[in-house]
């Protein structure tokens, strides 16, 4: 390379290549993404987050929550379980058959053949699909995170480090807003030995007025304010919790299928 122009051309070529592969191509593939149908349902996914939750994402951004929390549930694969719904007219044959068959953690083919054999014996079965992997086993989500989960977010806060647990499905996992508020104010009052910094500045400690605030936190004695004072969440804390409540990965999609847990029968 004898002159600057050659260097310039070569650098420009490589940069264009890298831009084309990792900026232009993703934009062409995903930039026009729309809502997708939910499996076995007429619903579409995702819906835009409600207003306070969208504001909460900005609180999440401003305080750098993504420095310690990811929103990316990982999954190794899927497994099928065959579940007997009714024994049918020949229960003893079915139960004999069940004793000889492996019914959980199957791949698709063995699940099909098992359910065929039980059906042939007269039993009524259902094949359930579930995601597998350590994140799923820990209860962090029902499936892995997919691009659709973040369609309406700005900024997308995927995170890259798990000092704290993954939050992609925290709205389903820990659905109590009061728990969340207390955890933000004093993490160690709920999780022993937590290294999460307390976000006391998102709360106001004030003298109890004529009527105690209905929003005041119900804190254990060790963390409670002085007598006659109450701890009330500021709007930012409410918004942040609304955002956390809006985080769900519990909807089955074409590219991340699973069988939703059966609703409890009354």
């Amino acid at each position: 390379m004898k002159n600057g122009f050659v260097i310039f051309l070569s650098v420009a070529t490589v940069l264009l290549l890298s831009w084309g592969a990792l900026v232009l191509a993703p934009q062409m593939q995903l930039g026009g993404a729309r809502q997708v149908p939910v499996l076995n349902s007429t619903d579409v996914y995702p819906l835009a987050r409600p207003g306070t939750a969208a504001q909460g994402l900005q609180v999440y951004r401003a305080n750098g929550c993504a420095a310690c929390h990811t929103e990316q549930v990982q999954q190794d694969g899927v497994a099928c379980d065959v579940v007997l719904l009714a024994a049918g007219k020949n229960p003893s044959a079915v139960s004999n058959l069940l004793a000889t068959l492996k019914l959980t953690g199957l791949d698709e083919g063995s699940a099909l053949s098992a359910s065929d054999r039980i059906a042939a014996a007269g039993g009524k079965v259902e094949t359930r699909i579930r995601a597998t992997g350590s994140d799923i086993a820990r209860g962090w989500g029902l499936r892995h995170s997919v691009a659709e989960d973040f369609l309406y977010d700005y900024p997308v806060a995927l995170g890259s480090l798990r000092v704290g647990p993954d939050l992609a499905d925290v709205g389903r996992r820990l659905p109590d807003p009061n728990w969340q508020l207390q955890h933000l104010y004093a993490p160690r009052s709920l999780v022993k030995g937590s290294v999460m910094p307390p976000f006391r500045y998102l709360f106001e400690t004030r003298k109890i007025g004529a009527v105690p605030s209905p929003d005041a936190l119900n804190l254990p004695a060790e963390f409670a304010p002085a007598v006659g004072y109450e701890v009330v969440p500021k709007p930012e804390a409410q918004q942040l919790v609304a955002y956390l409540m809006s985080l769900h990965t519990d909807v089955p999609l074409y590219n991340a299928p699973f069988t939703p847990p059966a609703p409890l029968k009354p």
Partner: protein, 476 residues
């Protein structure tokens, strides 16, 4: 030196004096600020409850501020300063119109100030390595363009013919930053793209800046100084050309981590290119080995040569960590752990910062025409920075592996992974403290030099003003 009016080396060095002082002194301050912020962030792991009432001291703001202060505050301006001087020396052309780079240096440091304050105030954009709010980003962009333009003009006006490997690496670095920064700012801040495309763009930017740009600058400097100190020519032109091309090609595609919620081909493409980085790493290792080994006897007593050699080895190690982390079997364990933070710190501080320290300790006394006030502290600084980065990287990498194994074990509670990591995080604070000390020593030497230079300028001016009128010809 056949050209008649060929400027002397002293003239060339002197032409860089004021721009380099502006770039390096601000950079030294940011270096100290960055390590102070990093120590502060690390304290969260010793006493998480302490800063709960103070928004700008919360971990999620301090940690990115520390990272950005290191990369934007120190690495980029210091790297550009070294680049300006090496261009002027290699091309045998003094730096003309020095006022522009001086103004640009101040603009740059102002931009970093606005950015760091913005992050601490909660105005971060939320994208890794792009946290600076848009006003700060605009300042940085303008300042970089001015500095790059001046460096490029000096490059095109070079008197000595021929291009050296350092030239390729530096010219590439000059172009890479404005290109990736404008694309990322436009697509993430100006007219944001939808959904996870944002993450793809941010990762592309991060990979290109934190791995590629820094490698181009650090290796460009190493390929200038290693032959100079060892007394042997760079081995060889073709190895360097091969390393340059492959580094550029594979390094620019390596940003997207495994497991990202993107279509599978994107992480796969990045992992493949990260693995292929083993090719330029081997070539670069051969270059270093053949250039340094068996060279003229020039012992390094904790001086520039030592630092640049250390930085070179740190580059090889950090790049190998990057390659290892791209293997699917490894990335399954190391994803979402401190392992990648260890790699980034080794690359930014162990490789780039220490290489730049070595270069600056060599360049600045020549440019200012005055030795450092505390030459003994240079060796102490070198030891502190080496030990500090060693403690930091080893504790984060080992702890990260342990954390990853716990995270990957469905039977272990999540708290186990945090608890396993804590002793390592607390050890890493020791590393950060040593690095803070090293950075303070660096800043002390540099700012004392700046102060003494200011003093001598003032003395000269005052002396000229008070000189009897009869004698003309002011000696400045």
């Amino acid at each position: 030196m056949t050209v008649n009016e060929s400027p002397s080396t002293t003239n060339i060095d002197a032409s860089c004096r004021v721009p380099l002082l502006a770039l390096f002194s601000g950079a030294a301050l940011w270096l100290v600020v960055s390590s102070a912020l990093a120590v502060l962030a690390s304290l969260s792991f010793h006493m998480p409850g302490k800063f709960g009432d103070i928004p700008f001291l919360t971990y999620g703001r301090v940690q990115p501020a520390a990272d950005d202060a290191l990369l934007y505050g120190f690495c980029i301006p210091a790297g550009l300063g070294v680049l300006l001087w090496i261009f002027a020396r290699l091309g045998q052309v003094p730096l003309r119109g020095g006022i522009v780079p001086v103004v640009a240096a101040h603009l740059w440091h102002l931009g970093v100030l606005a950015g760091v304050v913005g992050i601490l105030a909660g105005e971060s954009t939320g994208f890794t390595w792009l946290e600076f709010p848009r006003g700060a980003a605009a300042l940085l962009f303008v300042a970089y363009l001015l500095l790059a333009l001046w460096a490029f003009m000096n490059f095109t006006g070079r008197r000595a013919g021929g291009l050296f490997p350092s030239h390729w690496f530096f010219v590439a670095a000059l172009f890479v930053f404005p290109w990736i920064y404008s694309v990322a700012q436009l697509l993430l801040i100006g007219a944001p793209v939808r959904g996870v495309v944002q993450s793809a763009v941010a990762w592309w930017y991060g990979g290109n800046l934190v791995f590629l740009w820094t490698s181009l600058i650090g290796l460009g400097a190493a390929f200038y100084f290693l032959p100079k100190f060892s007394g042997r020519p760079l081995h060889s032109y073709f190895y360097a050309l091969f390393a340059f091309w492959t580094l550029l090609l594979f390094g620019s595609l390596s940003g997207i981590p495994a497991g990202a919620p993107l279509p599978a081909w994107m992480p796969a493409l990045s992992a493949l290119n990260s693995l292929l980085l083993i090719v330029p790493i081997l070539a670069i290792a051969v270059i270093g080995w053949k250039t340094v080994m068996g060279g003229a006897v020039q012992t390094c007593k904790g001086g520039s040569y030592c630092m640049i050699k250390f930085g070179f080895v740190a580059f090889l190690l950090s790049a190998l960590l990057l390659v290892a982390g791209a293997c699917p079997q490894v990335s399954r364990i190391t994803q979402f752990t401190w392992f990648s933070a260890a790699q980034t710190q080794l690359h930014l501080y162990g490789f780039l910062c220490i290489t730049l320290f070595g270069a600056i300790y060599y360049i600045l006394p020549r440019a200012v025409g005055r030795d450092f006030a505390f030459p003994r502290l240079i060796r102490l600084q070198h030891w502190c920075s080496m030990l500090g980065i060693f403690l930091l990287v080893v504790s984060l990498a080992a702890g990260g592996l342990l954390q990853g194994i716990k995270l990957h074990d469905a039977g272990a509670a999540f708290d186990d992974s945090t608890r396993a990591m804590l002793p390592f995080l607390r050890t890493s604070t020791m590393g950060l403290l040593l690095m803070l000390l090293a950075n303070l020593l660096f800043a002390l030497n540099l700012l004392t030099l700046l102060f003494l230079w200011h003093l001598s300028v003032i003395k000269t001016v005052v002396g000229a003003a008070l000189a009897p009128l009869g004698k003309t010809g002011v000696k400045a």
